[in-house]
């Protein structure tokens, strides 16, 4: 059984290797992957396409590109879940979670994950978000 099949995921990250790795993992479980390497590209994709899920890197062209994209996506498609991934939080003290409703209101992402997540974990989180 593979219920994630044919769901479209938009991945935005300025690191082409992270894109390669995420794409590999997600296409393997049957998802359709659209990718963007800059905030701008991601924005123009959002204009035209509605994904089922979005994964945004936090720091791209701007230090808060992930938040901006998340905000824009949610404005257009409030029901599409967003995951923000980043590799820097713990050691710069820029820690935040999305537990409280308060935080969700302004951060506008549904989940926040560290980079380097195992594929099974990522799959599980995605299933949860898509309520599968």
């Amino acid at each position: 059984m593979n219920t994630l099949k044919d769901k479209t995921v938009l991945i935005a990250d300025d690191d082409m290797d992270i894109i390669t790795q995420l794409s590999l993992q997600l296409t393997k479980i049957g998802m359709k992957v659209i990718t963007a390497e800059t905030q701008k590209d991601a924005e123009s994709i959002i204009e035209k396409t509605k994904p089922d899920l979005a994964i945004f890197d936090l720091m791209m062209d701007n230090r808060d590109s992930g938040f901006i994209l998340s905000y824009k996506l949610k404005k257009k498609y409030p029901e599409v879940p967003v995951i923000i991934i980043t590799g820097v939080t713990a050691d710069t003290g820029m820690m935040f979670g999305l537990e409280s409703e308060e935080q969700k209101k302004w951060i506008k992402a549904d989940l926040y994950l560290e980079k380097g997540l195992r594929p099974e974990q990522l799959q599980m989180e995605i299933k949860k978000l898509l309520k599968i």
Binding site: D17, I18, K28, E37, T92, K115, R118, P119
Partner: protein, 379 residues
């Protein structure tokens, strides 16, 4: 309006009053500042008197003759340097030997003005030293307030260092789990990418070392008389292996044949290495790199042109920021730390009191031009 305290140290009363006359109605202003600087003048006839005045007052600028009756100018300079007074020193001297120049520069003298000088020469020198003093004090102030800047730098740095680690770790996990099967050939691209990310990290670390050297080395200088043509040639040789792979030719054209400068060879080397390596990296196959060296009107001009991908007008102002890299289709496959040009600018402006400019046409090429004033002594 700000007033700077200037101390004239010379044993000849005629020279002292001459300088006083020239500077009494003179002021310095800069287009980028609201402030205007005027000068309050003090005199000392000997090194001993000079030290007494400097100890008592906050002196901003010292115009220092080297040949004095008691202790000589260099000793006064050494005293100022040892006590770390926040003032700039200009040596005014009729005969400068190389030895003296080296000693003075290593002790932080800003400039040399040969005697006799015209009023115009003195005024031009005062303008330079005032600007330098102002910039130095601003930088100090910013650094003091700069915990914030520092933190920002470190958090960006940790991002830059963690990104490749994350990428490599990701590939290793994929390989460990045999995610694309058991055939090693299917992992070829991932292996190559991992190696590339490692070499990018190595460049970043090397650049970081340059940067820390710049920051920690402020006083311990190792100034020598060098021929910048030699250093350019050395740099060309270093970059040749990289150039050969893209069939790029590097040319050096110098006029005069040798251009001498008092400087730390390492710093000049960083300048050439950065400019030439960029000119090769961002070039097209079969392209050219032209390194033109000129000495005119006491200025040294270094320009490095390439026939490469160029850059757009909007990208130019951002170029010298730390970790700044232009991201587009053409630069995608080229690795770098984005630190090189920021280091270069620091060296050119802070160490050599010079300037750097860029002209570029997308798809045609880029020219970086550096101008540095030559210390005014016969070498």
């Amino acid at each position: 309006m700000a007033t700077l305290k200037v101390l004239i140290v010379d044993d000849e009363p005629g020279i002292r009053s001459g300088i006083k006359r020239i500077l009494s109605n003179y002021f310095v202003d800069f287009p980028f500042l609201d402030e205007e600087f005027t000068f309050e003048l003090q005199e000392a006839g000997s090194g001993e008197d000079a030290i007494e005045i400097i100890d008592k007052n906050n002196t901003d600028i010292v115009l220092l003759d080297n040949k004095l009756p008691g202790m000589d100018g260099i000793e006064v300079l050494e005293y100022i340097n040892k006590k770390e007074f926040d003032c700039s020193v200009m040596m005014i001297t009729s005969y400068a030997s190389l030895d003296l120049a080296v000693k003075a520069t290593n002790n932080g003298a800003y400039n040399f003005v040969p005697k006799p000088f015209t009023p115009q020469e003195l005024k031009a020198a005062m303008e330079g030293i005032t600007k330098n003093l102002y910039l130095r004090r601003m930088t100090k102030k910013l650094n003091k307030e700069g915990k914030q800047v520092r933190f920002q730098f470190l958090s960006v740095l940790s991002h830059e260092l963690k990104s490749p680690i994350n990428a490599i770790e990701g590939y290793l996990r994929i390989m460990k789990d045999r995610q694309v099967g058991n055939n090693i050939d299917d992992y070829e691209v991932m292996l190559n990418r991992s190696l590339e990310r490692i070499s990018g990290m190595r460049t970043l670390i090397m650049d970081m070392l340059d940067l820390t050297k710049l920051e920690s080395n402020k006083k311990a200088l190792d100034v020598k008389k060098i021929d910048i043509v030699d250093i350019a040639t050395l740099s060309k040789d270093t970059m040749t292996p990289m150039a050969i792979q893209k069939n790029i030719k590097i040319f050096i054209d110098s006029n005069p044949e040798h251009i001498f400068l008092l400087a730390e060879p390492e710093k000049i080397e960083i300048i050439f290495n950065n400019l030439i390596s960029n000119a090769v990296k961002y070039n097209k196959d079969n392209g050219e790199v032209n390194c033109v060296l000129r000495e005119e009107n006491n200025k040294i001009k270094i320009s490095v042109s390439d026939t490469g991908i160029g850059m757009s007008e909007e990208d130019i102002p951002k170029l010298f920021q730390e970790f700044m890299r232009i991201k587009n289709e053409k630069t995608k496959a080229i690795s770098g730390s984005g630190l090189g040009l920021s280091i270069l600018k620091k060296i050119v402006e802070e160490v050599f009191h010079g300037s750097i400019s860029v002209a570029s046409i997308p798809d045609k090429g880029t020219t970086f031009t550096i101008e540095i004033p030559k210390i005014n002594i016969p070498l």
